[in-house]
Structures are given as structure tokens and as C-alpha cells.
């Protein structure tokens, strides 16, 4: 019973939601309810996850483990943000400034680091991947896309050249469609396996 009840819950919930795609109107209220419950659980799971993050850092500080100094930073900034957020509310100007003036510079700078990583990596693509049709077409397409985005190649609309450039620019869509169809197919199999209780991530059994 201890094992069967969660399986019953997973299959029951899954099949009800899936049926909602078919009986859209009839099942709309039930679906709304299930999705709201899901949102509550996802939110709570997020908080518990943050709890584990804090627990790890508290342990590091308490046991004076490696990286304890950085853990203090995490704990102090967390406490300050959370307390300020609860007292001042997220709409408060100071709280918004505090959050945005930290998140935006750090995230944008991390993205900026990516430019260097990608540029450096692209210099070694043939060395790491060899001369395969995929690596050559990757490189050619990346270069062509960069050239197109510079905007120098913009012939008069309606001309043969414009049609060809449009055609070339749309070529990657074929690959994207193929990859997305493939990924969707894989997604169906993964989902159906859970709905058939072949995969049970909720009890650790295979």
C-alpha cells in the first residue's frame, strides 16, 4: 500500500490532466484546480530547495569547512534580502533597487563572460571536432549568420538576391523543426513511461 498509493496518485493525476487536452471544456474546472495545487507544491518545493541551500551553508560555517567565508556571504545577503522583502514588500523602491542593482550587473556580466568563452572555443572547433560535415556546416552557418546580422547584405526587396538571402536565412528552420520534433517525441516517451509507472521518480524505483 505504501508503494501503490503514490503510483495511483501519479497515474490518476496524469491521466486526468491528459484527458483535459481531449475534454477541454468539461474538465476545465478540474484542470484549473489540479494546476493550482501543482503551483503550490512547486512553490513550496522551491522554498524547501532554498532551505537545503541554506542548510549546506550553515553547516559549512558551523563546522568551519572549506568555503565557510563564502557561506557567510550567502547567509547574510539572503537574510538581508528576505527580511527587507517581507518588511518593505517587493514593490518598495529600496528593495527593488537592492535586488535589481545586484542581479542585473552580475547576470549581465556572466553573460558577457560567455562571449569570451564562445569566441575562444570557436577557435578550436576543428581541433576538437575534426573535419566532419556537422562541424564544417556549424562553422559556415555561424559565420554566415554573423555576417547577415551585421546588416551589410541587404539587397533591394523583391530582387533575386533578396529571395536567395531569405532562403538561406530560413534554412536552419528545417534543422530546428527536425530537432524539435525529435525532442517532442522523446518527451512523449518520457512522459508516458511515468504515466505507466515504468519510471517512478517519487519513490526511487526503476
Amino acid at each position: 500500500m505504501k508503494k501503490i498509493f503514490p503510483i495511483f496518485i501519479a497515474i490518476g493525476t496524469g491521466l486526468t490532466v491528459l484527458a483535459g487536452y481531449f475534454f477541454t471544456l468539461q474538465l476545465a474546472p478540474v484542470l484549473g484546480l489540479l494546476i493550482n495545487w501543482g503551483i503550490v507544491l512547486v512553490g513550496l518545493a522551491g522554498l524547501i530547495g532554498i532551505g537545503y541551500l541554506l542548510k549546506m551553508h550553515v553547516t559549512r560555517v558551523a563546522k568551519q569547512q572549506k568555503g565557510g567565508f563564502y557561506s557567510v556571504i550567502v547567509l547574510v545577503t539572503f537574510l538581508f534580502t528576505a527580511v527587507a522583502g517581507f518588511i518593505l514588500t517587493p514593490e518598495d523602491a529600496f528593495f527593488r533597487n537592492w535586488v535589481l542593482n545586484i542581479i542585473i550587473p552580475v547576470e549581465t556580466s556572466l553573460l558577457a563572460l560567455l562571449a569570451v568563452t564562445l569566441l575562444y572555443g570557436s577557435l578550436f572547433i576543428i581541433r576538437s571536432r575534426g573535419w566532419t560535415p556537422m562541424s564544417v556546416s556549424f562553422l559556415a552557418s555561424a559565420l554566415a549568420s554573423l555576417v547577415f546580422s551585421l546588416g551589410y547584405l541587404s539587397p533591394q526587396a523583391g530582387s533575386v538576391a533578396a529571395d536567395w538571402i531569405n532562403f538561406i536565412r530560413r534554412l536552419p528552420i528545417a534543422g530546428i523543426r527536425g530537432i524539435l520534433i525529435g525532442m517532442a517525441l522523446g518527451g512523449v516517451i518520457v512522459g508516458v513511461r511515468v504515466l505507466l509507472a515504468m519510471d517512478r521518480p517519487y519513490d526511487g524505483d526503476k
Binding site: L110, I189, R193
Partner: protein, 244 residues
């Protein structure tokens, strides 16, 4: 037949084929797949990391769910049991991380399921940061604190996957990526040699553990993919002829 009916047929057929082939492959029958080298290389690197006394890190994605790739979180979790076995967890150097609370809770439940004696207080599952960028910002310093010998990336990742992979490689670690999104794959393509592309990610978990269910997954995907390809050609012809 409408497109909606085709959709339901795909779902129904997947379920039927999965059940039938799971039963068929329980015996001696096997579905012969092509040789994919990267999962094997990853396993060897994990063994090498154990021998060197280095950490092995499994990263289950920086999100549980995304609109474009709704199944990737579940897929990462489906791969976990074949990699985080009780033997793997013995030396305490097997780390698991994820960028979403749901993933952390599921991963803990899966790992716990592998402990015969019950819940361990030292489950090596942690959350470096709760959003994709904070996950990256929390993960990179961790590679300095616990230099990983091997890192496996599974599930949902975005363009930050390239920085994550770079950080591991700078520490001399090996990266295996079955990161599902096109963005992550494009970002990882240049430097990460052991990379599964597109639908190849669904080779896992069978690539590590070819159980009957995993083999059934492969053959079901192959059959439906072929059917969809034939359907595309027929539908294109009918569209051109003005029938549909």
C-alpha cells in the same frame, strides 16, 4: 484524419508499444542500437575519478520544467537511478546538484530509494542557486572547493551551460553533456566532445543501463519516428494535390 487525431494516435501508440516491447525484451530478445561512444567514455571517466579520489558530479539541470522542453526534468530524473547507485555513493565523492527545488526533492527521494537501510543524513544533493544564473554563480566556485574529475550534465540547461562546462574543464574535469535544449547544445558544441545532440539525449538512461523498459523506449521512438517521417511525405504530397 485530423492533426489532433494524429496526436492522440502518437500518444496511444507510444503507450501500447512501450508495454508490448517491455514485455518482449524481458526475455533474451534485445534491440540492437548503434554504438554511442560518449556514455561509455563518461562511465570510464567516472571510474578514473574514483581511482584518483576525485569528486563525481551529476548536474540535473537548472530548471525542472520549461515550456519548450517540458519533459527534460523528468528525463534527467529517469537517468539518475542508473548513475547514483548505492555503490556510487559509498565514498562520499558523488555529488548531485540541481537548480530547482523540485529537482532537489525528487533527486533526494531517488537516492534515498537506493539506500537499503533507509534515509541517509548525508545525501549529497544540493542546490547551488535557485535560478539559472545563480545556479551558475554558485556552481563555478564549488568546482574550486571540490574539483570534479567527471561531470555529467542532464536535463534543462540554457546558454550558461557553456560557462559551466568551461569551469569544469579548467579544473581538469571531464564533461559529458546530455543537456536537452538546442541553445545549450549549440553553446556546448565547440568544446564538449562527449555531447549528445537533439533527440540523442533520449538514448539515456538506456545508454548506461539497457534494461527492458529502456530498450522498449528506444524501439518505440524509432518506430514512431519512422511513422512520422512517412506521414510527413504522404501529407506533403496530399497537400500539394489539394486533397487536404
Amino acid at each position: 484524419m485530423t492533426w489532433t487525431q494524429i496526436g492522440w494516435t502518437v500518444i496511444g501508440l507510444s503507450a501500447v508499444l512501450l508495454i508490448v516491447f517491455s514485455i518482449l525484451f524481458k526475455g533474451k530478445r534485445q534491440y540492437k542500437v548503434r554504438k554511442f561512444t560518449s556514455p561509455g567514455v563518461f562511465q570510464k571517466q567516472r571510474v578514473a575519478a574514483i581511482e584518483r579520489g576525485q569528486a563525481r558530479h551529476l548536474v540535473l539541470g537548472d530548471q525542472f520544467w520549461s515550456r519548450s522542453y517540458p519533459a527534460l526534468g523528468l528525463h534527467a530524473l529517469a537517468t539518475l537511478p542508473s548513475l547514483a547507485t548505492s555503490e556510487d555513493l559509498l565514498d562520499g565523492e558523488q555529488l548531485l546538484s540541481a537548480g530547482a527545488g523540485e529537482l532537489v526533492l525528487f533527486a533526494r527521494q531517488i537516492v534515498e530509494g537506493h539506500y537499503q537501510g533507509g534515509f541517509s543524513t548525508h545525501l549529497p544533493v544540493f542546490l547551488p542557486g535557485p535560478t539559472p544564473f545563480s545556479f551558475l554563480a554558485g556552481f563555478i566556485p564549488e568546482t574550486g572547493l571540490h574539483p570534479p574529475g567527471s561531470v555529467g550534465m542532464f536535463g534543462n540547461f540554457g546558454l550558461t551551460a557553456a560557462l559551466l562546462s568551461e569551469a569544469v574543464e579548467l579544473r581538469g574535469g571531464h564533461v559529458f553533456a546530455a543537456a536537452g535544449s538546442i541553445t545549450a547544445q549549440a553553446a556546448l558544441f565547440m568544446k564538449t566532445q562527449d555531447l549528445l545532440i537533439g533527440e540523442e539525449v533520449f538514448l539515456l538512461p538506456g545508454g548506461f543501463e539497457p534494461t527492458a523498459v529502456n530498450q522498449a523506449g528506444w524501439v518505440t521512438e524509432d518506430i514512431i519516428r519512422l511513422a512520422l517521417m512517412i506521414l510527413l511525405v504522404i501529407a506533403a504530397g496530399l497537400k500539394m494535390a489539394g486533397v487536404i
